[in-house]
């Protein structure tokens, strides 16, 4: 009854918009929806880390070195997931680590995407030789294994979280350039772009106002997927000592610090590892769902 009375009103008010159509496709993919909720929880933790963490992440409780989680003998509720080798609370460090990972993801994707979009549009609209030049430079960047290139860049810039983010953004940028260029080329030949040209639109207007909004779907998907790549690469650089420096509670750095205690205290490596795994998996699942929902080629009817 409730549905029946609601239906005509909502149908009459507005025809299904792009957002509701997107949601209809997105929610068909169960994994993507779960991924989205996990990601939402991750974002909430990142934002609220100060409020929900029981301890300061860098305070060392010298009486509780390598204390196990609460359900293991010797553990206590004071440190629910135990403590590390210098007595810092694992749970608090993990919660604060989410903040760094989120920060890395957002900054890296923002830089890589904005730079990649501008360069890609330029390549799509510039004369042929500029296009060739840009694309060959991007090919060169892509020819290196991405982590190796990031490692080299960090080695040059000096190890820190900021430099790691710059390096990862540079490594991820070519993907955006290629995507943007490809969609810009296919959109550019369409009649609506020609119509805007006949109306006198400048090249900049064509690039950013006419064409760009129609290229965004694949870029959004790439953004979601490279968010997880950025987190993973930052953790890897942290693990190799080239990213965030101790005592920063970054997940990769935590793993690196805990390496020597793997056999004695399983919790110091398990939890940061799990955190990375769950976050990256959730974002990838969500990205897959985004791709299914936004790619017109995969749409049914």
């Amino acid at each position: 009854m409730v549905d029946a009375s609601n239906l005509p009103a909502s149908a009459g008010a507005k025809r299904p918009g792009q957002l509701s159509e997107f949601w209809r496709y997105f929610k068909e993919n169960r994994g993507a929806v779960i991924g989205m909720w996990v990601f939402a929880a991750f974002v909430a933790v990142a934002v609220l880390a100060d409020l929900i963490a029981p301890h300061d992440p860098i305070v060392q409780y010298r009486d509780h070195l390598l204390q196990p989680p609460f359900w293991v003998e010797g553990g206590s509720w004071e440190f629910p997931l135990g403590t590390d080798a210098v007595g810092r609370d694992m749970l608090s460090r993990l919660l604060h680590g989410a903040r760094f990972s989120f920060y890395v993801g957002v900054v890296v994707v923002a830089f890589a995407a904005s730079g990649g979009i501008v360069i890609g549009l330029l390549a799509g609209f510039a004369p042929k030789w500029v296009d060739t030049l840009i694309m060959r430079v991007m090919d060169i960047i892509l020819a290196f294994p991405s982590l190796l290139l990031a490692l080299v860049l960090v080695a040059i810039l000096g190890p820190s979280l900021t430099n790691a983010m710059i390096a990862i953004a540079i490594v991820l940028q070519p993907h955006y350039v290629r995507l943007t260029r490809a969609s810009a080329l296919s959109e550019r030949s369409k009649d609506y772009v020609t119509a805007a040209r006949v109306a006198g639109a400048s090249k900049l207007r064509l690039m950013f106002i006419t064409v760009l909004p129609n290229c965004l779907s694949p870029i959004i998907v790439q953004g979601a997927l490279s968010f997880s790549t950025a987190i993973l690469d930052a953790a890897a650089l942290g693990f190799l000592g080239m990213g965030a420096q101790p005592p920063t509670p970054e997940w990769g750095t935590m793993l690196a610090e805990a390496r020597e205690f793997i056999l004695r205290a399983w919790w110091v490596v398990t939890f940061p590892g799990l955190a990375i795994l769950v976050t990256v998996l959730a974002i990838n699942l969500m990205g897959d769902g985004l791709r299914d929902a936004l790619d017109p080629k995969l749409k049914r009817s």
């Binding site: 025809r15 369409k190 609506y192 020609t194 040209r197 006949v198 639109a201 207007r205 909004p213 129609n214």
Partner: protein, 329 residues
């Protein structure tokens, strides 16, 4: 070589559009290490079009109709020849000013509207670009006016293109073309993507608008029944060249070029009992990469003589201009 006007009343005003020997050649790569070759998409097209008149350009696919449309709409520069709009030569500095005088309506109404823009902003964009000092309220007033003029409803202003049918989209495309008060409207097969019932609505809208706004139409089409309905003058093209130009009545009643005769004989007739003398052409359209010397139609023409293969005929004669050594009548 241009067609003289039949309307003396308009003789004083400069014609809306004059084309003189318009040509467009494209260089194509001849494959690996091959010599680049030239595609002569359009050669030496000349005509005059007055305000309030419709010139229909007909011909089969690949004959250069759309190239002509793109040149006149200033999407591409011509490689040869010139054209004037309202008496001003479309060259150099003047191009920018003339931009607003020629607008184009495309064939495919599904590709010609930006899917991410609302109808209102699609219509206002030309004003935003060309009259940047016009206040927003004035732009919106004009957009709504044009919406009404093209038979759309005011509530369509806030909708997106995907909410419209093909016919409505084509109305929107026409409305957008009218926003800058152009003198010449290039219609590149504006109805061939539409249903038959919708075609006539759009055609009648175009005729109505022409009468009200005194527009000159360059009407590209391959549908002869549509041309018969719309045109004042007809130009028949073959392989990038106009082969016959004349008033609609003269061309349809007494075609002088053999190709025009063949084209007209291929039009379906509504009366099944009427006897049809369909002329079947032998052979294929030659590649525009390799236009035969002499008359381009000679390889397929049933009247071809040796001279046709050596010497290209000029447009000449009366009542229509035909490029043929042995025209009819």
């Amino acid at each position: 070589m241009s067609v003289q006007t039949q309307a003396p009343a308009q003789a004083e005003a400069a014609p809306a559009l004059v084309a003189r020997n318009l040509s467009r050649w494209y260089e194509v790569k001849g494959g690996f290490l091959g010599k680049p070759r030239t595609v002569k998409a359009l050669s030496e097209a000349s005509f005059t079009l007055h305000a309030g008149e419709t010139l229909a350009v007909v011909g089969e696919s690949g004959c250069g109709k759309s190239t002509l449309a793109r040149l006149v709409a200033m999407i591409e520069p011509p490689t040869g020849g010139t054209f004037e709009i309202g008496g001003v030569k479309a060259q150099g500095e003047a191009l920018k000013r003339l931009r607003t005088d020629v607008q184009i309506v495309f064939q495919d109404p599904y590709g010609s509207l930006n899917p991410r823009q609302r109808i209102g902003s699609i219509l206002e964009e030309p004003l935003l670009i060309n009259r940047p000092d016009m206040p927003k309220a004035e732009r919106e007033r004009r957009a709504r006016e044009t919406l009404a003029l093209t038979g759309l409803r005011p509530e369509h202003y806030d909708r997106y293109p995907h909410m419209f049918s093909g016919g409505q989209r084509q109305r929107i495309a026409v409305a957008r073309a009218l926003m800058l008060d152009p003198k010449v409207l290039v219609l590149d097969e504006p109805v061939s993507a539409l249903d038959l019932s919708v075609q006539s609505q759009i055609l009648n809208l175009l005729i109505d608008l022409q009468e009200r706004l005194n527009l000159a139409y360059l009407f590209i089409s391959h549908d002869l029944s549509v041309v018969k309905h719309m045109a004042d003058k007809v130009a028949v093209m073959y392989l990038g060249r106009p082969v016959e130009i004349g008033t609609r009545d003269a061309v349809f009643a007494a075609p002088r070029h053999p190709y025009t005769r063949a084209l007209l004989s291929a039009t379906p007739k509504a009366d099944p009992r009427q006897k049809r003398n369909r002329i079947r052409l032998e052979g294929e359209l030659p590649s525009p990469l390799n236009v035969p010397p002499g008359c381009p139609f000679a390889p397929r023409c049933w009247k071809a003589q040796p001279i046709c293969r050596q010497e290209r005929p000029e447009l000449s004669g009366a009542p229509t201009l035909a490029a043929c050594h042995f025209p009819e009548a």
